[in-house]
Symmetry: C2
DNA sequence: GTGAAAGCGCTAACAT
DNA sequence: ATGTTAGCGCTTTCAC
């Protein structure tokens, strides 16, 4: 019952342990006859080499620590799928845990991964706790950020989506459709740097196109469904004259859709809605949602590649240069339309 | 730069390695003064005990292997969230990989997990490769199935959702609404045993309620979006007189919704649709979908608990008795309504 | 081509 | 209360 070790195999094959090791790792030279004997013995005994023993000796585990805020979020899930696809192909083991965007939990996870001696960590980092990552770097294990950056650690390998480009193109699209009073539904400034960026790109693009930015049309919600809904609803009620809204996340997009339904606003006849963040159900929505979609799975795959290829996996591998930025895509479906002559105030209810 | 070991800490603190170990693991007795010295030295050196060394010695890694078919599936993702919540709380490490419902991949993952010496495995097993699991059991590591069973391994710890109860209640609900020609959109028999079960419970419940089961109304699709859509569409076209359909998975439900939209069938005025399998967007659908929902996250949590509590974690822990069956819930939203007098053939288009 | 032996970092007897 | 030592299962010199 006790687990069979390399020693048992060696004994059964009538050779030394070193020979067994050579055969199994493919290192050194072994005569065909011996190799066969060893293989037979191993198969016979149902031998499984212990990664523990090997890792202790070689100082590499092949482990990859993955930290995401929330596995139930479709973007995170797809990202994870990409990481798994790459890691599996390379024979890597993926350790996963969720931070719930809590810096303390994140730090704890990093600590655990460090004790496990993972070769590297892939993370969608929480804002505002750079110490956590500095310690990772100084520990000498690989580190790749994804989806977000940590300003205090420039030069760290990073995979990003071109969200700025996405926001820009959706604004251009909307303005091209004739919209002039377009609202922005975003997250609170403190939430994340990408959210801030969304907002500033929104403003900048509008200005470039010669459309005035009305402060009243730029609203921010906390990252809860209630807050998002409240923000969307009050936006619609306060400014019945707006003709389009850009939502900065799928939660905010949902809130916008729900709120407009509740207020009997037809989409896109009364109001056009575009969401920066694709979700699997955007085409099941009625009408199907026009969105900016990020290549979640590719991002995961690339992040993992970056980590594995990372020259100094255990050699303080920082300063890998500029972030990898993957293109986003404006997926035009049916939730945005041209501005109609009818004013919103003329609608039912 | 070389990683600091227990020996370094011992030297720095001026004590033996055993003392350091005692302090850090909380075992044995150590004087307050020594404890302080050791702790200080450890903190100073930024020491992180190696899980590798400990695991090799103790023969337990605290690792949990999680195998799911597809992380992008919302049910699997929520299930994973539950596993992570429980494991994190217990200090367990979760290794994750996806099988894509491929028995060969599944077997390979099990093999890898075994080499990693995980303490146990939680899996949503693929049909038809019992050998894989028999070897796990004989390896002496913990095993918990979730969501599906492996007929050849009865007695293995298992967490299930009461899908039969869910199907029954949705059929009763529909019949109570006056529906008599209700269709079943299911998976191919070979796909999985739960799908088969759905179908037979569907038939049995209908019969119990004195409603004839029409073979033409029971259709099966392969697990691809195209096949599901084709099955749904042809069902609607073949039998314009049907008034309700229960779809056995979210993919099939989506197909039903899409197909009915395409055919200009109003939900629920022309046809009622119920889905066995909740998805986050069912309330965003228009109309919001009536579904049977499984407690995905609870299932994950319970599965992990079962594994951790498992008496013989490394002692051939099989034969844990009956499966844990968690209740499903019929979530009534707006996609099912009473049968109307108007016949479907009188509808627009 | 193959075996013996020295550790990798840790814990658990066993001494003291 | 604390130090010494023997492995856990493996890879890798170093001899032969």
């Amino acid at each position: 019952m006790a687990s069979v070790t390399i020693k048992d195999v060696a004994a059964a094959a009538g050779v030394g342990v070193a020979t067994v090791s050579r055969v199994l790792t493919g290192t050194g030279s072994v005569s065909a006859a011996t190799r066969a004997k060893v293989l037979a013995a191993a198969k016979n005994l149902d031998y499984r080499p212990s990664a523990l023993g090997r890792s202790l000796k070689t100082q590499r585990t092949g482990g990859i620590g993955l930290i995401i805020p929330n596995i139930s979020d479709p973007f995170c899930a797809d990202f994870t799928a990409g990481v798994l696809a790459c890691a599996h192909g390379q024979g890597g083991q993926v350790l996963i845990d969720v931070s719930h965007d809590d810096p303390a939990i994140e730090a704890e996870i990093v600590e655990r991964f460090a004790e496990q001696r993972v070769d590297g960590i892939i993370a969608m980092p929480v804002r505002g706790r750079p110490e956590t990552w500095k310690s990772v770097a100084s520990l000498g294990l690989g580190l790749v950020f994804a989806g977000r950056t940590v300003e205090e650690l420039p030069g760290t390998a990073t995979v990003l989506a071109d969200e700025a480009g996405g926001v820009r193109s959706v604004v251009e699209y909307l303005v091209g459709l004739g919209h002039r009073r377009v609202a922005f539904l975003g997250g609170r400034p403190a939430e994340s740097s990408t959210r801030r960026e969304h907002e500033s790109v929104f403003r900048a693009t509008l200005e470039e196109l010669g459309v005035a930015v009305e402060e009243e049309l730029v609203v921010r919600a906390r990252p809860t469904a209630d807050s998002a809904y409240a923000a969307a609803a009050s936006l619609f009620m306060r400014r019945p004259d707006l003709t389009a809204v850009v939502a900065a996340s799928h939660q905010l997009g949902e809130a916008a859709v729900l709120a407009s339904r509740e207020l009997n606003l037809r989409i896109p006849a009364d109001v056009s809605i575009a969401v920066v963040d694709d979700v699997p159900w955007s085409e099941l929505c009625d009408p199907p949602l026009t969105v900016v979609s990020r290549p979640a799975q590719d991002m995961g795959y690339r992040a993992c590649e970056l980590l594995l290829r990372s020259p100094g996996t255990r050699e303080g591998g920082r300063a890998q240069g500029r972030p990898v930025v993957l293109p986003t895509e404006l997926v035009v479906r049916a939730s945005c339309g041209p501005v109609t002559g009818s004013t919103r105030t003329a609608r039912g209810r």
